[in-house]
């Protein structure tokens, strides 16, 4: 039973979290300390607000508590000059305005949050570290939650976070908004991290649930935040639109038994219309900025699915064009695979198969399970007996339970 007041407080604390950590990192220059103080303050808020009610300005309230906790922690833990400098900065801030965010305008808060995001997604950190730090420092997930999401033992994830924070401190990785010259490539890293978080939730490739929606929800939350902070970046809105379109199909993606339902077979009345509307608005915003990119193209493709009443009604010719543009801008084997599937739906399985059987693609995707399952599907439609081998190859390569069941079922239908 979810207590509504409790739930609202938790929601509020979560929403305040990135602002809180960003402010503290800006003042302390120490991510580990900022997180610890923010965690302390969040726990105090969860307790006190339940008893005393939610304060008028929850953000200011929680920031004040966090600063005090940071002072306590510095006094206990730090040594020498560093301690003195940090205390001086914090106390100056507290003296100017104890308890309020005045003098800490919206712009500054926006810049601090962006600086936090760019710092967590710094290219000098490993991708695993970028993901873990972003979920922890920006998303406010606990180490245990992140570990569960990525199916690693909690001590492993804790170790990963400790190492990442140690590298940030030792190598002096800065929390700052990159210069214009590097902004585009640095933003690409941020988008990549969000994409990986979303994807991990979407296909739990090592787990047993087809969808781990906590990670997709978290990626969407982060993407919404980034779109608010970078309102003029087209690809940021494009990525948000992409996530939302895909998420809108979640209720239809698995059946009651937890088995996969392919796009073609989904009950489209189950698609979440609110999310589709939000996705369309984000895509429109992106396109109005007139700076096309891969995420917008992928979102547009998914937008065409969202508009169509069924697979047959889908504008496959338009989707083929969008995939061609996508492979021009981002020529990866997986894009070619998707193009081939669209070509098959627009012009028949033989045309798609021709693209799939190109020797270069076959070699590059030899170990990629979706290559073999897509190929199997086209062969099946052509009544080609080679479909069986392709399904078996896909089966060998998957370690996801629902996918295994799905492929085995298709293989059964083939032989019966």
């Amino acid at each position: 039973m979810v207590d509504p007041v409790n739930h609202r407080i938790e929601q509020l604390v979560r929403d305040e979290w990135p602002k809180l950590v960003a402010t503290l990192v800006g003042e302390l220059g120490d991510l580990g300390l900022a997180e610890d103080a923010a965690q302390d303050a969040a726990e105090v808020a969860l307790r006190r607000w339940l008893d005393d009610g939610i304060p008028d300005r929850p953000g200011a309230w929680i920031t004040t508590v966090a600063r005090r906790r940071a002072v306590d922690r510095i006094r206990r833990e730090k040594l020498g000059q560093e301690k003195a400098a940090q205390l001086a900065r914090l106390q100056a801030r507290m003296a100017i305005n104890d308890g309020a965010e005045a003098g800490h305008g919206a712009n500054m808060l926006r810049d601090e949050q962006l600086a936090l995001i760019f710092g967590c997604c710094h290219p000098a950190l490993s991708v695993e570290a970028q993901i873990a730090l972003t979920l922890r420092a920006v998303g406010g997930l606990t180490t245990a939650e992140i570990a569960r999401g990525f199916v690693v033992p909690e001590p492993t994830m804790a170790q990963r976070l400790v190492r990442a924070k140690r590298k940030i401190a030792t190598a002096a990785i800065p929390f700052r908004i990159p210069d214009d010259a590097e902004l585009l490539s640095r933003l690409g890293v941020v988008h990549h991290v969000l994409y990986l978080i979303f994807n991990e939730g979407y296909v739990a490739s090592r787990g047993h649930d087809h969808v781990r929606d906590d990670l997709t929800a978290e990626a969407i939350r982060l993407s919404r935040l980034l779109a608010t902070l970078l309102n003029d970046d087209a690809e940021t809105h494009g990525q948000l639109a992409l996530f939302l379109f895909i998420e809108s199909r979640r209720p239809a993606r698995t059946d009651a038994a937890g088995d996969i339902v392919l796009l073609a077979d989904q009950d489209r009345s189950l698609w979440d219309r609110h999310l589709i509307a939000e996705a369309s608005a984000a895509l429109e915003r992106a396109m109005a900025l007139a700076s096309p990119g891969p995420y917008q193209l992928e979102a547009a493709i998914n937008g065409l699915h969202a508009e169509a009443a069924s697979e047959v009604d889908t504008d496959w010719a338009q989707i083929v064009l969008l995939y061609r543009e996508l492979s021009r801008r981002r020529p990866t084997p997986v894009t070619t695979l998707n193009l081939a599937v669209a070509v098959a739906l627009a012009g028949g399985p033989a045309a798609g198969l021709e693209l799939l059987d190109a020797p270069d693609l076959a070699a590059e995707l030899a170990e990629y399970r979706y290559y073999h399952s897509a190929r199997a599907d086209l062969l099946r439609r052509l009544d080609d007996p080679a479909a069986g081998d392709a399904y078996r190859r896909a089966l060998q390569l998957t370690d996801s339970e629902p996918e295994r069941r799905f492929l085995a079922q298709r293989l059964d239908q083939l032989t019966s």
Partner: protein, 122 residues
């Protein structure tokens, strides 16, 4: 904050490391002179040295009080340490932007390593 920029490249690659007698050698050296001037003018260059090829290296170990010397570098690798700079920068981002200007960044790899300050250690 001090950073060591360790310059790695394939010493047997004539493009990355042209022979001093070849015409390609001078432009490369000019690149280093330019880097030295720029980084010194910006006040970040605390020094640096080129290293002779690993074929001239000797590895030394002390075992049970005895000096053991071996011909060659510590590790045989495809790219070798060919020189270094010590730079004084505010952050890793600044160090990275300087490292990218070292001529061998274009043909080899610059490893950026923070130089820890132990002066405050207890």
């Amino acid at each position: 904050m001090k950073y060591a920029c360790l310059i790695y490249s394939d010493e047997n690659d004539a493009v990355a490391n042209p022979d001093p007698a070849s015409p390609e050698f001078q432009p490369m050296m000019a690149g280093y002179v330019k880097f030295g001037e720029e980084s010194t003018a910006a006040g970040v260059n605390l020094g640096g040295e080129p290293l002779a090829n690993t074929s001239s290296a000797t590895s030394v170990q002390l075992r049970d009080g005895e000096i053991i010397t071996t011909d060659g570098p510590f590790a045989e690798t495809k790219e070798q340490l060919g020189g270094f700079y010590i730079l004084d920068c505010d952050s890793l981002d600044e160090a990275i932007s300087w490292a990218a200007k070292i001529p061998h960044a274009a043909t080899g790899t610059i490893e950026v390593r923070p130089v820890p300050d132990f002066s405050q250690a207890g």
